[in-house]
Symmetry: C2
Subunit: 229 residues, 2 copies
């Protein structure tokens, strides 16, 4: 087949916004760049897309290589194509966002010893390229999604307390929620299973542990129910 488009081409990259959550709030995973441009600056994990892989595959590969994360909840966010977003040359980036349980993952730097670390979403250091803009876009998407999809559960450990869940929603929505209303509403959904155990090693009165009932949630959605916090 003839080549039909012989003009100069942009390079195609992926960048991943990886959210995690712990007592300190909502976190994002950043990598310290080892190379120019922006050497030493923090950046989202990412890299170039290969000819034989989709952008989804590239995002998963980069995540694995740069952070050791395997099979996270990963979703395409948006494609960023400002002409001058990379000082080297034209690079168009397909951004992804991922949610991971901090309890599951020991994040590590890449094999070339680049540093990887979790940073509070609201207080990141200066970022390379247009990564601040990408992060803002991902944060807005997360905020929109947690209201209508139970993706928040991807950020919690498998067993969690209602205060933890509320704290997560407060961090994602950036506003305080009334404790009694939140408990009442979230329990009324019938998508949480009360476990026989309470939390351990806490100084306060231990709270009841729950798990997310994915099956019950999916059945409800099939029956026309809409999750809304």
């Amino acid at each position: 087949m003839p080549f039909t488009y012989e003009h100069p081409r942009a390079a195609l990259a992926v960048d991943c916004v990886i959210f995690g959550f712990d007592e300190g709030g909502l976190k994002v995973l950043l990598i310290r760049r080892g190379l120019e441009p922006f050497q030493g600056r923090w950046a989202l994990p990412g890299g170039f897309v290969r000819m034989e892989e989709t952008t989804d595959q590239a995002a998963r590969r980069e995540l694995r290589e740069e952070t050791g994360l395997d099979r996270p909840f990963l979703e395409q966010l948006y494609t960023f194509s400002d002409v001058d977003r990379d000082p080297r040359e034209r690079v168009v980036s397909v951004a992804y966002f991922a949610l991971v349980k901090l309890s599951d993952h020991r994040v590590r730097g890449a094999s070339d010893a680049r540093e990887a670390a979790w940073h509070p979403v609201e207080k990141t250091p200066p970022l390379a390229f247009d990564h601040k803009k990408i992060l803002a876009s991902a944060t807005a998407r997360l905020r929109g999604k947690v209201r209508y999809q139970p993706i928040g559960f991807e950020l919690l450990p498998p067993r969690f307390t209602l205060p933890q869940l509320q704290h997560l929603y407060e961090a994602a929505l950036e506003r305080p929620l009334d404790k009694r209303n939140f408990r009442k509403k979230i329990l009324s959904f019938g998508i949480l299973v009360e476990l026989p155990d309470k939390e351990e090693n806490v100084s306060n009165r231990p709270a009841q542990l729950y798990r997310f009932d994915k099956k019950a949630y999916e059945e409800k959605v099939r029956a026309g129910w809409n999750f809304e916090v």
Copy 2:
């Protein structure tokens, strides 16, 4: 600056899913292809992204060139990157979706006399490339959005009746809505302005005309209100 990525590169394209709405329901604008591959097959309007333009700019340019549409409501949808989605070579496509008022626009084919026409979303002919998949993705996005954003008004003429509005929502959501509940709910939002006129040239009893009050809507959203049909 040194070129940092000398490997083969995918071509980058944009494709546009343009929705319109009339008495016959939800429509999508298609172009009949003049060239191989898929010569003679219907396809979404689109084309290659130039080095000096963003994908948004490319989508607007292609729309203008291929259909005469200028400044529609245009939003990035998703980036499609299956390795074999174009039989010629690797082409990654950033898809957009646009909503236009059919009353505003006389769509025309491009200057090279390609044919452009509106097709019912539910009964499109076979499409070129992966455009069926892109259309399905856009339809799902539209369905999700009309529930939580008043973007449906982009599809209606500036002055519309409540039956027209209901018909639009029924087409987008693919289910019938109760007339009384729909009227009550949509009027309770306070985002419609009753006009002094009724519709003309109809055989039935003429219905009241309304317009969308964008300012009232934006004020409500700022105050924390959420649109939900």
